[in-house]
Symmetry: C2
Subunit: 283 residues, 2 copies
């Protein structure tokens, strides 16, 4: 039995599972206008950010998620000069995006400024690139941002949001995807975190269908481990205005350090399990 004074537990009631991390102490707790944010110091996972009871990231394993939300999509675009990150307030995706020398501007559009302020304080390693002159911070609603943005104004949109309940719900709709498509330039790509391949097949199916209904030509789901998320197995889905154009030579000559990502991992991530292929084809 886990003593609630020593452990943080996220219960996934629908899937009848729970994941716990041993904590040393709670560092911060606040209710923002959007959500409740908690920060813990854990025994073995470094620091932990929790939003509305759901684990967002730990110091120890966030590199898996952040690398896989950014490098596969950026290396699949021929010329990713302008990048938007919708959500991503912890700045971990921004940091990875700015490792790419081709990127000229990266705009992080996060609805809740406090997520970024707390990341600066408690996860400074994720905010190392925040002073990069190519980075811009907009604390506003990403849904409205894409609704009002100029057509043809971005190469890659990264939707790094919480689960599709609460403020992030509108990020999983055909209307949102349609606006993204309008903003994207010719070979534009959208990537979005798409939950667990084991637990959330229905959601992934619905997302992919909405992306196609919005006019994206192709969708590709990629898979990676993420120990602190439900089932420990996670996915991201890329929607393509034209297709994927992997810059294999650039990946081979990668000029920056990653901990998980490399060319073999890039190619491997797109391998879909049989049950997944069937579930996507069947419905």
């Amino acid at each position: 039995m886990l003593d609630a004074r020593d452990w943080f537990t996220e219960i996934d009631a629908k899937d009848g599972s729970a994941f716990s991390l041993k904590i040393k102490r709670k560092l911060h707790e606040e209710q923002t206008p959007f959500q409740k944010i908690e920060i813990y110091e854990t025994e073995t996972f470094g620091r932990l950010m929790v939003i509305d009871g759901c684990i967002m990231l730990s110091s120890r394993d966030n590199f898996l998620y952040h690398e896989m939300m950014t490098h596969p999509v950026l290396y699949s675009h021929p010329d990713p000069r302008r990048v938007w990150i919708i959500g991503g307030g912890d700045c971990g995706s921004l940091k990875e995006v700015l490792k790419h020398p081709e990127v000229e501007t990266a705009i992080q559009i996060e609805i809740d400024e406090q997520v970024t302020r707390l990341a600066e304080q408690y996860f400074p390693e994720l905010c190392e690139a925040n002073g990069d002159p190519r980075a811009r911070f907009e604390f506003q609603d990403g849904i409205q941002w894409v609704r009002e943005a100029t057509p043809d104004s971005v190469e890659v949109i990264i939707v790094d949001s919480t689960d599709p309940i609460g403020p992030a719900e509108g990020l999983f709709t055909e209307a949102f995807y349609r606006n993204c498509l309008r903003c994207l330039s010719r070979a534009g790509l959208l990537v979005q975190q798409s939950e667990s391949p084991l637990f959330h097949l229905d959601l992934i199916y619905t997302m992919r269908a909405a992306m196609k209904a919005a006019g994206f030509r192709e969708v590709h789901t990629l898979f990676f481990p993420q120990p602190v998320y439900p089932s420990g197995w996670w996915s991201a889905t890329i929607a393509c205005k034209a297709g994927l154009f992997p810059r294999v030579q650039d990946i081979q000559r990668q000029s920056f350090v990653t901990r998980y990502y490399n060319l073999a991992i890039h190619q491997a991530a797109f391998a879909a399990p049989d049950f997944f292929r069937e579930a996507m084809a069947r419905r």
Copy 2:
């Protein structure tokens, strides 16, 4: 807070994490001469087998582990006629092995007969192939089995054991690997579950070093998701007497059903993360 009457929790004290499944009821509990076995009915993961407090398998997700412990290694041998499974008492690996028409005999060497008897009762789907005339069951110590076996008597050895503490400890030693190597025929392969890439890098390093010290020419680690195991991310390591000889055409023409495994997954599983490559090279 999880009520211990409704949840089974496995605590990984060393890594400061815990995984829990909601249970309907306990179906069985017994102390055998080797270990304590418990069987639960869960809310969403089907049935659950626990040995000495560690989750062995659930009905819902064991296909990941069993497919990845068998198909990559069998399809990497030119002619896998004779197969031994050391451990594997739940018969899930045996069932996958017997899907291969090339296999002429599969011997399951499990130290604790009760694991198999309880699997027959509570996981009948894993025991479907137990009546196959190619299957043979030996309830004895796998370490002694390989010590006493005839040289050149097996093509593939699958070590499907519990963690390297208790009865399975001797399965992670150079002496054991040396005996396996002697038993293997010319292009023989050994595969062994090798724990979590995130939590157990030291163990994987030590295993691989012991395999090489025992005389295996190459070792290859493969990676796959396994939600009910610590960190949700697992590995298996293949030791090769000569090398890997993937039968790509046979995989493409695969005559049986799998839920996770396919050619793309086979190739993807061998992609090693950067941090893993470094950890294996550095020590």
